[in-house]
């Protein structure tokens, strides 16, 4: 059977799938699924192209998790939490779904910030209360998108070792399977410098990724002033000590603010900076992705050719890589355009559709 690449796109109204071959240059759009639902995040199965899990929500009817095992023909639906007893932090949206290290385990990151674990293949879920009970919790502040747990990293070599990212709170790590968590934000610029009752948990991080080859963590941050005189601002960081401390790696980047970040199996790191906090669109209407092949020490500018200026943004879950070689890079914009590169960002094409506002992108090449 020839290789097949699937690109799943979650939007504010439905999920859309593009299909291509291993060449990844000609794409076909399949019919939308769940068209009335917001698809806030997606999880593919690298071993089964017909299986897809989605965080779904509706402004009237709330959030659940849906899963298909027949390429969208039929869906099952699960609730993350029973309505009894009432929770102190209502569940508004599922921001991230990831597969755990142990077979059949899944994690879900939600708004308002909480982490859920399923140990039975997604049939049922339980809140990881060790995180929710963190002493800083009463002081957690939401970002513009809400108080969301948007990044979940599980150490493939040790299922008890994890990191999560929460906006606008920071990174928390556990080494005991979620029983206890430690804030891991040393070196990041806080939202305010003094006066917080929880100074280790006021960091507006937008995405974290981890390189399993060397354990390094990378972060797309909100971008804040690093110095009292305001002369230097940083938004992209790296941790060489498993999150214990962070160093800025964005000296080459003209814009520091952004949301998505993606890391390939060959340690290629991709970011897509925007103008800034008050203008969350590509700089001067030019779609630009930056790639680093040396852990952020230097960056290459990758221009994405558009027919005219594109004053759209890109959200944190809307960039993905496909696991093939060379790396396929994909992103969707808030304007509903999907862009694909079959060669690690050296060349790009806009896929033949204009979709609703794009929230999530996932891709995989199946052998």
């Amino acid at each position: 059977m020839p290789a097949r690449t699937l690109l799943h796109v979650g939007t504010v109204k439905g999920a859309y799938t593009f299909e291509s071959d291993a060449d990844r240059r000609a794409w076909t759009l399949l019919p939308p699924v769940l068209p009335e639902w917001e698809i806030s995040t997606l999880l593919i199965d690298p071993d089964d192209p017909d299986r897809l899990m989605a965080g779904t929500a509706h402004y009237a009817y709330g959030a659940t998790v849906r899963e298909t095992r027949d390429a969208g023909e039929t869906w099952t639906q699960t609730v993350l939490r029973s309505p009894e007893p009432p929770a102190e932090h209502p569940l508004k949206r599922v921001w991230q779904l990831v597969r755990g290290t142990a077979a059949g385990t899944f994690y879900a990151g939600v708004e308002e910030a909480a982490l859920y674990l399923s140990a039975d293949g997604g049939e049922s879920w339980a809140e990881v209360e060790g995180l929710t009970r963190h002493p800083s919790r009463p002081h957690w502040m939401p970002g513009a998108g809400g108080l969301c747990l948007h990044s979940i990293l599980v150490d493939p070599a040790d299922s008890r070792r994890m990191w999560v990212g929460i906006s606008a709170v920071g990174v928390f790590g556990t080494t005991d399977g979620g029983e206890t968590w430690t804030a891991m934000n040393a070196g990041l610029p806080p939202m305010v410098t003094t006066g917080s009752p929880a100074e280790d948990a006021m960091f507006c991080i937008h995405r974290i990724v981890r390189d399993p080859a060397n354990g390094r963590l990378f972060m797309q941050f909100h971008a804040h002033t690093m110095t009292p005189d305001g002369t230097r601002s940083s938004g992209v960081f790296r941790s060489d000590d498993e999150g214990a401390s962070w160093q800025a790696i964005d000296e080459d980047l003209p814009r520091k603010f952004g949301f998505p970040m993606a890391l390939s199996e060959r340690s290629e790191l991709f970011v897509a900076p925007l103008v800034g906090d008050d203008n969350r669109v590509f700089d001067e209407g030019r779609l630009t992705v930056w790639r680093s092949a040396d852990d952020g020490e230097s960056w290459s500018r990758l221009d994405v050719p558009s027919e005219g200026p594109v004053y759209s943004g890109i959200l944190r879950d809307a960039m993905a890589l496909d696991g093939a070689e060379p790396t396929g890079v994909y992103f969707g914009t808030t304007g509903g355009d999907v862009w694909a590169s079959p060669d690690a960002g050296d060349s790009w094409r806009r896929l033949p559709a204009r979709l609703p506002r794009i929230l999530s992108v996932r891709a995989h090449t199946y052998a």
Partner: protein
């Protein structure tokens, strides 16, 4: 116990195995929530917030009358009564 029917909007029928109407037994409206939670927990999640109140943009009609604003314990049900879940026209 009164035997009543509950109309389910199309969007929520994947929470009821495709059923557009559910047969329920309850004497008061507050017992309807309990009956749905027990038999159709995913549907209940979509209709009621975690506080136990109806979600802000969801209406529950009793014989075509709005029930929001009335204590559900005070709404008595009779055999043949019709209930309906309706999305409020509040898209903005």
């Amino acid at each position: 116990m009164a035997r009543v029917t509950l109309e389910v909007p199309r969007l929520l029928r994947d929470s009821t195995d495709g059923r557009s109407s559910l047969d329920l037994e309850a004497d008061r409206l507050d017992a309807v929530r309990e009956a749905i939670r027990e038999r159709w927990p995913v549907l209940a999640t979509h209709v009621w917030a975690e506080t136990g109140e109806l979600r802000p943009h969801v209406l529950l009609l009793h014989n075509d009358r709005l029930t929001r604003g009335t204590d559900p314990r005070e709404i008595l049900l009779a055999d043949g009564d019709r209930l309906a879940i309706v999305q409020a026209v509040s898209g903005g």
